[in-house]
Amino acid sequence: MIEIPPAFIYLGGLLIIPILKGRLGNLWALIIGSLGLLAAVLIPETSGGITLQVLPGIETIILTMDPFRHLAGIIFSLAGLMAIVYATYRDLRKVQMIGILASIAAATGIVYAGDFITVFIFWELLALASLCIIWASDDIRSGGAGYRYLLFHILGGACLLGGIVHTIITTGTAAIGPVGDGAGLILMLIGIGVNAAAIPVHTWLPDAYPVASVEGSVALCIFTTKAAVFLLAMIGGWGVVVAYLGAAMALYGAIFALLQDDIRRLLSYSVISQGGYMIAAIGAGTAAGLDAGIAHMAGDIVFKSLLFMVAGAVIYRTGRGRLSELGGLAKAMPVTALFAIIGGLGLAGLPGFSGGATKGMVLEAASAVPFLTPILLISAVITTIYVFRFLYFIFFRVAPGECSSGDAPLPMLVAMGGAALITVAIGAFPNLLTDLLPGGTVAHPFAVSHLIESGGILITALILILLLRPLRRPGEGWETDIDRLYIAVGRGITWISAEPLSHGAEGISRRTGSLITVVQRASANPPVACHIAWKTSVLPFVRVFSDPPAIQRYEDSLRELRRSYPDEQTPIQGGGYGIILIAIVAFLYFLFDLIR
């Protein structure tokens, strides 16, 4: 059997991208994507793995295998392929294509990595790849967003490294597994948390995703957070804190999603929210929780990317990306609308769609931790509300103006179709997914309790929609998040480095320079300089103890001395002073002799 880590297929493939022209690149990317998927599927679960000895003393396991990895690898490859397919609707910038391929590579790399060092390397690669994607956007905001994105991920990566190193030292191995406690745990959590968009380090996500290109945001939404979640799951052994963190994310993301106007920003918060579900499940710590987390991850990858694809298609066709500007696209883009509904319902967790199945698993797993379930349920309700809001405003309300020039292009439709199909398939037959889970957890989306649960969520949501009528007010949207704080801090640091620091340094060098000048000038005529210095230092006393005319005279003489001070060394000196000096020195010797 082939045992090529898929990551290397993608990485090898992207090297050729720059020299390919036009559609050839797209084609190549598709081939690579397919190959990668193939490789991911074909890796036997019994594989012994591939180990490289790169750094002395550290074994780098680039390929290791277990059911989770198999599942995640396939999902990531598949989603990657979909993203590539979606992206082929036009000639992409090479950077972007490279970014997408690199993202897939990095994500699969993380998945198959057997040790922390490898994880870390791919982790950073993922950040860079995402940065490529973001910066490839035409949106002018992408520069700043990408920058902030990067800083967060560098921070995360560095923290992760710290955590990893701590783990290696405390546990003695770099193999992926439970970390120690203390600093290592915190660092690791921060590191993973950044990528998983855990609050309060989530702000990069709603910041960057909306400004990426349409196909870029699809690729983005698939990998970063999900890879983090996967790693979280792989490490395992987290406490309830993580579970609550997940719950908080779920609620927080959901609420913010509700408040958004920009459709991709809405979806971005949704990513946070759904990530919260996964983390909550993983944080529950049970095998079922792990299974649920991974399952939800798989599901979410599919329907969330579907929704991003839809949003992308909408933006592509209309050139607008805000709920308040859109409307009535169902007629113009019927297929897209259909896929959107499928994706939306999947997100809302309606039974029959993948979200229904996996969310149910999460809720089940969450019951192991007190108070977790209610929060998640509330989040689910809100999720449903914003999904409705999303669908309604884009597709069904009365159009503020006709603007679409037809349905999405074929590649988009294909990709969306694939994703929709999977969503529905998993929703209908959860076994497709759950069979792959090692924990053996099964989903019961159609069990009565679940139906009641889902029904309850749906009804509550409907009631709330009717009560609050949020649908009528597409409004400005609430785009303020705690990222304002971070930006302020960043500006502060920049200011510090630009103002006090550099001015301080300048001041020091100026002082030094003037000191040197003084010395240089003084050495031009030392006796006079000494004279001036003496007179100047006596001046205050003279001012205090003399009468005004005397002070005046004194100051005048001082001024005159200064004025007549030579700029250049005076040549030739009289002999008389020399002899006086001789006398003085001789006397000094004499005094020294006397006092010895």
């Binding site: 031009a524 060394q569 020399g578 001789i582 001789a586 004499f590």
Partner: protein, 497 residues
């Protein structure tokens, strides 16, 4: 082997005869005096080397003039210290004479060349005499020979200003000579002899007499003036600046070194460490002044615009280094000090030669007018850079080695602060050396287009300069060689064997 035995005195008599021949030959034909001069100096140089070898092999050479043993007669003493200084100054003198020919042609009126060379020869006689004599009064006599020759050589030739410089030096020098004479008198009163070794032997009995203290004081002051030991240096900048280049080279290397030599002789051979460290701990005071000298000289040098003047102030600073060794007064520091005598002679000689060549070629030594001079005078400026590096104390030049010994000695003696100041002084040296290097090499590259193909100066001027610059480097690397002589010399000074 009688010639070998007579070598010490021939070292003085030979040149005296040579001086007479120069005068007579020069009267006949001016062109004759230079070859005679060169011949005589070469002979002296060879003789000094032979003597040095003898000293290394057989130990101290003592020569009783007239066959009268001290204290009646005068003796010439060549021990490793004076042998070392002797060969150093003769080397420098030889190179300076080689250098002098064209420089003098350019700077000294033709009708004065004969007397000029005679005076140079007399100056060297005086200095050699000062070096090898073992009698204090004889020292004084030779000091006066060299002084009078110097006054005139400084004043004689170049510019009207030089008269004033020469006159000022004359006044100072005469006072110095007077003080030295007075000091010698006190010593004589205290001991009844004039022979250095005997004085050293007899003196301890009267260490506590104020007469001896005064003798020490006046000798110290006198030689301080002659050696331009800060702050009694006032004559030096003008003298060095205004004298003709060749003279500057000679007095800055040979004369200054011999003055310092004499001072060290007085301090260590006559008064011995027992006096200057224990009875009257003047070394601490000297150390203090030397440190001030190092810094002050360097700072003053930085402020100069005239190249020669800058180098002159640098000499003040460098003499401070040598006196620093005296102040520390232990074996290692003294070795460093003696090495610095050699090193400074070579580097300052080289630097003044460069300055002279620049004057020869460019007609000025004002640094502000010398922008980009390295383009036209690459060899000179390279020599300057090398010797300058030595001055700063960049390893592996000789300047570094001596500085290293000095600092090592100072550390060993526990003079941390002074050593620190010494190091700062070398930094300041970088300040003034670099000033010229900046101007010469990096002053203005727009003017460098005129890469003239004409040689930058006569080969007779370039060769000694380059030779000295290379010596700075070579002797720095093979510093063991001079150290073989310097080690015993320092030991002798400290009262060892």
């Amino acid at each position: 082997m009688s010639i070998m035995e007579q070598l010490p005195v021939l070292l003085i008599i030979g040149p005296i005869i040579a001086a007479l021949i120069i005068l007579a030959a020069g009267w006949h034909d001016r062109r004759l005096c230079y070859p005679v001069m060169l011949l005589s100096i070469t002979g002296q140089f060879i003789a000094s080397l032979v003597l040095l070898l003898q000293v290394i092999q057989d130990g101290t050479i003592r020569y009783y003039l007239g066959g009268w043993a001290p204290p009646l007669g005068i003796e010439l003493v060549i021990d490793s210290f004076s042998g070392f200084i002797l060969s150093t100054i003769m080397l420098l003198a030889l190179l300076a004479i080689v250098y002098a020919r064209r420089s003098v042609e350019a700077e000294v009126p033709a009708e004065k060349i004969v007397s000029f060379y005679v005076l140079v020869q007399l100056l060297i006689i005086g200095l050699v005499g000062m070096t090898i004599t073992g009698d204090v009064f004889n020292l004084y006599v030779f000091l006066e020979i060299s002084s009078i020759a110097t006054y005139t050589l400084i004043a004689g030739t170049r510019s009207p200003r030089s008269y004033v410089a020469g006159f000022n030096y004359l006044i100072m020098g005469s006072i110095a000579a007077g003080f030295i004479l007075l000091g010698i008198g006190y010593l004589y009163v205290a001991t009844g002899t004039l022979n250095m070794a005997e004085i050293a032997m007899l003196l301890p009995a009267s260490y506590e007499l104020s007469t001896v203290h005064a003798a020490f004081l006046f000798l110290m002051i006198g030689f301080s003036i002659k050696a331009a030991f800060f702050p009694l240096h006032l004559w030096l900048p003008d003298a060095y600046t205004e004298s003709p280049s060749a003279v500057t080279v000679i007095i800055s290397t040979v004369m200054a070194k011999v003055s310092v030599y004499a001072m060290i002789r007085i301090l260590f051979t006559i008064f011995t460490t027992a006096y200057i460290i224990e009875s009257f701990p003047v070394t601490e005071f000297i150390l203090l002044i030397a440190t001030i000298a190092i810094v002050a000289g360097a700072i003053l040098a930085i402020a100069q615009n005239d190249l020669k003047r800058m180098l002159a102030y640098s000499s003040i600073s460098q003499i401070g280094y040598i006196m620093f060794a005296v102040g520390v007064a232990n074996q290692i520091a003294l070795e460093g000090g003696l090495l610095h005598i050699l090193g400074h002679a070579m580097m300052k000689g080289c630097l003044f030669m460069v300055a002279g060549l620049i004057i020869y070629r460019m007609g000025t030594s004002n640094m502000l007018e010398l922008r980009g001079v390295a383009g036209t005078m690459p060899i000179s400026c390279a020599a300057f850079a090398l010797a300058g590096a030595s001055m700063i104390g960049i390893p592996p030049t000789i300047g570094f080695m001596s500085k290293y010994y000095l600092v090592l000695g100072a550390f060993e003696a526990g003079y941390w602060l002074y050593a620190a100041v010494l190091l700062i002084g070398s930094l300041l040296a970088a300040g003034y050396i670099w000033r010229f290097i900046e101007i010469a090499y990096f002053g203005d590259h727009h003017h460098k287009g005129d890469q003239t193909t004409t040689p930058e100066g006569p080969i007779s001027m370039i060769a000694p300069m380059v030779c000295l610059a290379l010596l700075c480097l070579i002797l720095g690397i093979f510093v063991e060689m001079p150290m073989e002589i310097i080690g015993p010399a320092a030991m002798i000074l400290l009262g060892g064997i």
